[in-house]
């Protein structure tokens, strides 16, 4: 008995248990003791890790859904259809984590619905709220067939899928526009912080920079997720698709690097990168992780052609992207706000809990729904194969 329990305790299960316990405790502190007890936020740093990691990274890393669905549905790049559902699922779960995170972030979470009825069309945050709500609905719609096709009622299933298919293209098109809009509006949020945000990041074109950096990061996360599914969940995807994604990511990163450089020169901010300041350090960390290393790595055929190496190249993209978003939301503000902010453990624990819940949901969706093409487990294949042959004969 004891030995059996012991064999059930694996490293990853222990980690999940720790995330669950600390995350739930942090959630309790947040909702029953308030911000002062659960965060290091202050009047000088009103937005911290929850906005930086939960919202900016969460939405940015969910950008693959609209990219791949545009490619497949609108541009007819049928080659990417095998990874279409996975990318939509990642976006869908990513946006759900953002919506849950929103409840942690706002001071009066029971008023989460206010932006639906109280409009301020001049506010970038209002536009972000509306776009995220609408796009989450669109993603639910795009993802719905994966669940509907598993329903036991044949007539209902077919009717729903029939009408679903009829309006799908319109919804996809709206989704592409919506997510393009709010990916950039997330950067637009900081347009008004002129004079506060460090010049290495502040730009009148921040919204465009956010848009350009989100797409490669979202693709990179999708590649990572699919690689992990192939390794552990018996998923079989033609690797050349991921390889092509790697090439695409590299191209998009080069485009971003080009515009970032132009932007820095245009704002006469390049000089700040060569000063001996914390900000310059964070800037170069971002350049190294998000641009220099992945662009170099992905230019090698031996990296793009090898699943594990491609995975690590994409991991650099994702990590670098997160550094970029945290730089904008925290590091670039500290000097002007005259404060030093280090997130409290409970801010990190609750964010990690929400992200972990998303990852778990992804795992079980891949196992129980038809998200990615799966190779049947080997012994069963042989058995069914024999039966099938027998039936055919």
């Amino acid at each position: 008995m004891f030995a059996r329990i012991k064999s059930e305790i694996t490293l990853w299960r222990t980690i999940v248990a720790i995330i669950l316990v600390t995350g739930l405790y942090a959630t309790y502190i947040r909702f029953f003791e308030g911000f002062r007890a659960s965060t290091n936020l202050s009047d000088q740093m009103p937005w911290g890790l929850w906005v930086g990691l939960g919202t900016l990274c969460g939405v940015g890393l969910s950008a693959a859904g609209f990219g791949i669905s545009a490619a497949v549905y609108l541009l007819g790049m049928e080659r990417y259809r095998p990874i279409l559902r996975a990318s939509i699922l990642i976006s869908f779960l990513g946006y759900l984590t953002v919506c849950v995170g929103y409840l942690y972030e706002i001071g009066l979470p029971w008023r989460f619905w206010h932006p639906i009825v109280m409009w301020n069309h001049r506010s970038v945050l209002f536009d972000v709220c509306v776009c995220i709500m609408t796009y989450t609905t669109v993603l639910t719609f795009e993802f719905a067939p994966a669940v509907i096709e598993k329903l036991p009622w044949k007539n209902l299933r077919e009717t729903v899928l029939h009408y679903h298919h009829k309006i799908l293209i319109g919804v996809v098109l709206a989704g592409v526009l919506l997510s393009s809009m709010h990916q950039s509006f997330l950067g637009g949020l900081y347009l008004i912080a002129r004079g506060k945000l460090h010049p290495l990041w502040y730009s009148p074109y921040m919204h465009a920079m956010f848009y350009l950096s989100a797409i490669p990061a979202g693709l990179a996360l999708t590649v990572m997720a699919i690689y992990l599914c192939m390794r552990s969940l018996n998923v079989r995807v033609d690797f050349s698709i991921l390889s092509d994604c790697g090439r695409m990511i590299q191209l998009l990163l080069i485009v971003f690097a080009f515009f970032k450089l132009l932007d820095l020169i245009g704002n006469q901010a390049l000089g700040y990168a060569f000063q001996f300041t914390n900000e310059a350090g964070y800037f170069w960390l971002e350049v190294l992780l998000f641009l220099a290393i992945p662009i170099t790595l992905l230019s090698f055929e031996s990296v793009r052609g090898n699943p594990e190496r491609l995975y690590w190249a994409c991991a650099f993209v994702v990590a670098g992207f997160m550094v970029d978003r945290l730089n904008v939301s925290i590091n670039a503000l500290q000097t002007a706000m005259g404060t030093h902010y280090v997130p409290k453990w409970s801010e990190l624990a609750s964010s990690v809990l929400v992200i972990a819940a998303g990852v778990m949901a992804f795992r079980y969706a891949v196992i129980y729904l038809d998200i990615l093409p799966k190779a049947a487990p080997k012994p069963v294949t042989r058995w069914i194969g024999n039966a099938g042959l027998a039936a055919q004969a």
Partner: protein, 257 residues
């Protein structure tokens, strides 16, 4: 229409007695201990800068960054001058705090139902025809309350009659102007007044251009995407038709042979 009210703060006259700060705290029922900076229980403070005293409070901008930022329009500029906060609408996103160029709005970090707190220029007293509590408490007329136009005239007459004043009224044009005006005998930049990030343009102009472009982007993007989809569909149809044709021809050929 009611005329826009305002406050004129004269840094040369201020003696740093903290009368305004105490009166404000008393009015709102906060403890009367002075605080070093603005907080959720201190809507105005008097900061010492060298041998001068500078009041900090909401500048009540004409086109406020906080009001443009608020997603639910909980903050608005009234015709009477004050920039007021509607606690019933607020969701607690704190974007106003990030947006404010003067870092004025404060948050009740310790509360379970926290709200934003800032000076409301005693809007209820103004509506009742009274002056603000801070102006009423000032013993040396370093803070005076009145119609904004009249205050600007008063400021200029003080500047003209005394050559030690800096010939500038802070708050008339900065960031599009506001209802709170400052005059001083020491240059403003030496008193902690930061250069206005958008000069004399209101802060909301920073976002309005990006937001104004979005309908164009949506219409253009929608058209381009629809066109691309049409091309994709057409190519698929053509490919299908060609393939069909081929199979028919092949069929005929095979039948003939």
């Amino acid at each position: 229409m009611a005329q826009e009210k305002g406050l004129l703060i004269d840094i040369k006259r201020c003696i740093g007695c903290l009368g305004c700060e105490t009166a404000c705290k008393q009015l709102h029922g906060f403890g009367t201990d002075p605080e070093p900076t603005l907080s959720d229980t201190a809507f105005t403070v008097v900061e010492a800068r060298g041998d001068k005293f500078v009041r900090k409070l909401c500048m009540h901008c004409e086109d406020p960054a906080c009001a443009s930022a608020c997603p639910v329009e909980a903050i608005s500029k009234t015709r009477l001058g004050p920039v007021v906060y509607n606690a019933d609408k607020c969701i607690g996103c704190r974007y106003c705090m990030l947006a404010c160029p003067y870092q004025v709005p404060r948050y009740q970090w310790t509360k379970l139902a926290p709200f934003v707190k800032k000076c409301d220029m005693c809007v209820d007293r103004i509506k009742a025809g009274k002056s603000t509590a801070c102006a009423e408490a000032c013993p040396v007329q370093a803070t005076i309350f009145g119609n904004r136009d009249a205050l600007i005239n008063e400021a200029w007459s003080r500047i003209r009659s005394d050559s030690s004043y800096v010939p500038h009224i802070y708050g008339v044009e900065e960031l599009g102007g506001g209802s709170v005006l400052f005059v001083s005998d020491v240059p403003f930049e030496k008193l902690g007044f930061k250069p206005a990030p958008t000069g004399n343009q209101p802060m909301p102009t920073l976002t309005s251009s990006a937001l104004g472009d979005s309908p164009k982007v949506v219409i253009m993007g929608g058209t381009i995407l629809s066109a691309l989809y049409w091309v994709t569909q057409r190519r698929r149809e053509v490919a299908l038709a060609e393939a069909e044709e081929k199979t028919v021809i092949n069929k005929i050929k095979s039948e003939r042979s």
